[in-house]
């Protein structure tokens, strides 16, 4: 009984009767929200008739370039026309439109642009994740504040924020974990790298007789004057800092493989001729077994094949450092390789 009275009381309320009579969805939840990306709007006067919008449009009937009729004084303007019956409101046309201001506008997403933060520097800093020990010293010293970030337990440099000041490189305790890369003059940089490697190889080959005497476990040390090399590199690109950086970086990571050939021990068995993957070793009756150094890949297969020990295989490492008398030297260290000889 009480529930019946409660129902009667509820239905007798004026607000209930009003709502019942005018039951309707609120117009503000029915209307398009302001962020809704509607059909693109065309601003004819900016169009350059490049056709990028028609190429980007996924619907075949949606967009067409139209040209007005020429008048006596000037040519008719070309502009895109949107067919609402075909347009899917994706906004691609507005996104690809290259004019500034845009000929086509559609929603707001395509108007958001990242701020232009590129500073006129020719150096870019990156972190080598393989060498990074995650001490986060670079993060603390970063001048920008948040240009070095941690993401998925990796330390990264945000290139959009980095101002290339180089402070992080100075504090990094691991050599090579942060690298300063020169962005400009890439071809010249390649030339300098080739020059350095060729010079070092020639230097070692000049000492071939000494190299052959290296026994197992022994280390052969050699100092090369680097001033000539730097002088030659200046001829390629006169940039002192870049040359120093390149030579230092290349000598840090470079591992040269050296092959020596002892003619006296060779018995012309020809076992290595077949094994060589690049056909650098050939056999003729007059000359015996001959190695072509230009073709050689230094893969060490001949060294592992030779049963007579005629071929030597050595690993060379380098260190670039200033010498006592003010110049620069490259310190070369050679040792025999640990590779086993196939028996």
């Amino acid at each position: 009984m009480s529930s019946v009275i409660w129902y009667l009381y509820e239905f007798a309320r004026k607000s209930w009767a009003q709502n019942f009579a005018a039951a309707k969805s609120n117009s503000e939840i029915m209307d398009k929200p302001s962020r809704f990306r509607d059909y693109p709007k065309v601003h004819k006067e900016y169009c350059i008739a490049c056709g990028a919008c028609t190429a980007a449009c996924p619907a075949p009937m949606a967009i067409k370039l139209v040209r007005d009729v020429d008048s006596a004084h000037e040519q008719g303007i070309t502009y895109p026309v949107i067919n609402n019956r075909g347009c899917i409101r994706c906004g691609f046309c507005a996104e690809v439109c290259p004019t500034d201001p845009k000929t086509l506008t559609c929603g707001e997403n395509h108007l958001i642009r990242e701020k232009f933060t590129i500073l006129p520097v020719d150096k870019k800093y990156v972190i080598d994740d393989y060498l990074c020990i995650r001490c986060k010293k670079c993060m603390k010293t970063c001048q920008v504040g948040d240009a070095i970030i941690q993401e998925d337990n990796k330390i990264l440099i945000d290139q959009k924020k980095c101002i290339s000041c180089g402070e992080c490189l100075k504090t990094c305790p691991v050599k090579g974990a942060i690298k300063g890369i020169h962005i400009a003059n890439v071809d010249e940089q390649k030339e300098i790298i080739n020059l350095v490697v060729d010079t070092l190889e020639a230097e070692i080959e000049a000492h071939e007789e000494d190299v052959k005497k290296i026994g197992e476990g022994e280390v052969f040390k050699l100092d090369m004057d680097a001033d000539d090399l730097i002088e030659k590199a200046r001829g390629i690109l006169p940039n002192e800092e870049l040359i120093h950086d390149i030579i230092e970086n290349i000598t840090d990571r470079l591992k040269l493989r050296i092959i020596t050939w002892d003619k006296n021990k060779c018995v012309d068995c020809g076992l290595c001729v077949k094994e060589c993957p690049s056909h650098a070793i050939s056999f003729t009756k007059e000359e015996g077994v001959v190695r072509d150094p230009d073709k050689c890949l230094k893969c060490s297969i001949c060294y592992q094949t030779c049963p007579f020990g005629a071929i030597g295989y050595y690993i060379a490492r380098f260190l670039f450092k200033p010498s006592e008398n003010g110049g620069n030297i490259i310190h070369i260290t050679l040792k025999t390789s640990d590779l086993p000889v196939r028996s």
Binding site: A23, K24, S25, I29, M30, D31, K32, F36, P58, A59, P60, M61, N83, N84, R85, G86, C87, I88, R89
Partner: protein, 149 residues
Amino acid sequence: MLDGLKDIIRKSSIHVCLVNTGGCNGCDIEIVALLSPRYDLEQYGIYVHNNPREADVILVTGAIAEQWRDKLQRIYAKTPEPKIVVAIGNCPLTGDVFNQEGGNVHAPASDFIPVDAEVSGCPPRPSEILEAILTVAPGAIAARGRQKL
């Protein structure tokens, strides 16, 4: 007198049948959204039946695939008079993204059955569909009803 009575009843209760003739289902989902409490289609006296024999309004979506050409006409024939057709979305209007070179769609739908109202968009907003049905359907149904009788 009888016509006047019929008009009032037809205006206040519209029965709708949804026909997807090979589209991506996006427009159908928007129509289903109309049934939700947010838009609440039934407060306007519109009922979705999905049975052409009970329908006053056929909502056509999709780009008319090969198999739908004769079946669409059969569905139209089965619908009792007075009936109107509303094409929902871009597919029955132009074929939209399906109407590529080498495609096998037979848009527009008006090639096969008379279309009274068109709602463009891919998909159109539920409010746009509702607006189209409400502005076109009652008047068109009443007019067609008077024509025949």
